[in-house]
Amino acid sequence: NIFQKKVEQRALYVRLVDVTDNDTDPAKWGRNWPSQYDAYLRTAFPTHTRYGGHSGSEALPEEKIERDPWLKRMFLGYAFSLDYRDRRGHAYMMVDQEHTERLKKPQSGSCLHCHASIMPLYRELGNGDAMRGFEESFKFSYQDLDKKLHDTGHAHPVSCVDCHDAQTMALRVTRPGFIRGVRALAESDGEVPAFSSIALWRSGKRDQPYDPNKDATHNELRSFVCGQCHVEYYCSTKMPLTFPWGKGLKADEIESYWNETKFPNGEPFSDYTHAETGAHVLKAQHPEFELWSQGVHARSGVSCADCHMPYMREGASKVSDHWVRSPLLNINRACQTCHHFSEDELKSRVELIQDRNHALLERGGSAIVDLIDALKQAQSTGATEEQLSPARDLQRKAQWRLDFIAAENSMGFHAPQEAARLLAEAIDYARQGQLSLFHQPDPQQPSASP
């Protein structure tokens, strides 16, 4: 009834308990903001769509590398060939990390950056200076830092404090990896059609580094909070966690950033050496933020939260749905607020985009497998290093693009044409790699183009 509605309206502002930057336990915040908390808890529900959410048992999401054997083949020599599963809701981020077989290979403490409410621990490691603590964290083994986290009582998945200012509830970013990455992006001259505040900063004095918490628009923060984690990264034992945005957010710009990166020991950067081909290759991880930034939604100011945390009416008030999940489970709130089409129509638009993308992905998968086969064979028949190296370089280029879209979690939806473009290049490079192996002095050889 109307009276009750009026009450709900006011309820939003009554704080029953005080929360601080060290309150990582969402339950405590939940006393002030029960509806957001209730929704947040729902991220523990299993969800599944044609390509989203997770298949497999409740207990454990399905192995991607079993479902798509070419993925496993591509990752041979790297931890991802041991265990790589469907993602699921935020509630699982700690347990899934703690249980992945990937931990059989040494992993760094930085892993926790995106799987736990880590800020208090960073501050502790840096005696109050989170940034310094963050820089230390990669030197710890994952196991040690994870234990520390449990001991200090901060072992919670992403929590309210990670996205909200405890005093004002304003959106804010906390993650050092993002703060450094976006700063480097601002200082680069990579195009940022989606981020007006960066364009503004660039045209300004530039005496202060770009600071998302000061400079970003409210609407940008509605995506930046997700960009703290849903991004490509380097996260291992040789150097601190890195977001590779120093040349821009396009897959090609990130590639050349990695190509020009050197490890502290002076070696050129690569994530692993392929077990079968000896190629020094790159691994792309969930570049949702980067791919989204290349799409028409980003350009139009449509944020992650618009689709994954849409506003919904609750009694007389308007709240953001904190059950972060696939918008396809939520089309009326996530899409119909802007698109005046039926739920069925919107669903089939997404699935058409995804089916096309998936077909290209599979096509790329068989191309990369063919290249790996060819390289193996050439090695076995005693091809020389310098006969092999062009093919290995092409494997690196092809795999980077293929993995960029395979690892991205929207099956191409976040930027359909850009995703297809990258897959087309991946296929071309993989095939050119095979062809390069026929370049022994040989009358029949055609010339592959650069």
Binding site: R42, F45, M312, L328, L329, Q336, H340
Partner: protein, 196 residues
């Protein structure tokens, strides 16, 4: 004290023919619109039914004051946007959303309005709210009511389908780009879902 609101009988309009607006799909709850229309007694017989509903805060029955509509927070986003729209100076809610010709009929049908307010107080309606095909026909008529002179020419060469659906291109004139609001969790969402 009421504010008025009508549902016209369904009629095959070009909107329903256009691909994304198939009758019965998504927001166009054709069936419901029909049911409601049937509840509109005699009016329905005439092809148009009108009814009014009461609302706690109340407002003058013939009020053309948009604030009247905004009495329902549900109408708030449209109200806010309308104030910034190209039309706020020239057209109020009812100029677009109620049939110009039929206003007198509402008096008689006052009691039927009960349903609309019921939908509201019980909250058993789908969100985001969309104009139903019936409501779109009213809109179209009202666009033309004011813009006939300008648009006669573009209507002339489509005799078999009637005039051009203004909303196909001008759906934002009333309150800018859509800023609708999704409703609370559905029953199936309470227990967790899968679109498998």
């Amino acid at each position: 004290m009421d504010c008025c609101y009508t549902i016209a009988f369904m009629r095959q309009s070009n909107f329903e023919k256009s691909p994304s607006l198939r009758p019965g799909t998504g927001p166009y709850r054709t069936r419901r619109a029909l049911v409601i229309a049937l509840c509109c007694g005699i009016g329905a017989g005439l092809g148009i039914g009108g009814y009014t509903f009461r609302y706690a805060n109340g407002l003058s029955y013939f009020s053309t004051d948009p604030a009247a509509c905004a009495n329902c927070h549900i109408m708030r986003s449209e109200f806010d946007a309308w104030q910034k729209s190209s039309h706020h100076a020239v057209a109020t809610c009812i100029d677009c959303h109620l049939p110009h010709s039929l206003v007198p009929k509402y008096m008689a049908k006052a009691e039927n309005g009960y349903r609309h307010s019921k939908a509201f107080t019980e909250g058993n309606f789908e969100e985001p709210i969309f104009v139903r095909p019936a409501g779109r026909t009213i809109l179209q008529d009202n666009c033309v009511y004011c813009h006939q002179a300008l648009t006669e020419s573009i209507a002339m060469n489509s005799p078999h389908t009637g005039e051009q659906p203004c909303l196909h291109c001008h759906s934002t004139v009333g309150h800018g780009d859509a800023a609708r609001l999704g409703g609370p969790l559905r029953k199936d969402e309470i227990v967790g879902v899968s679109s498998r």
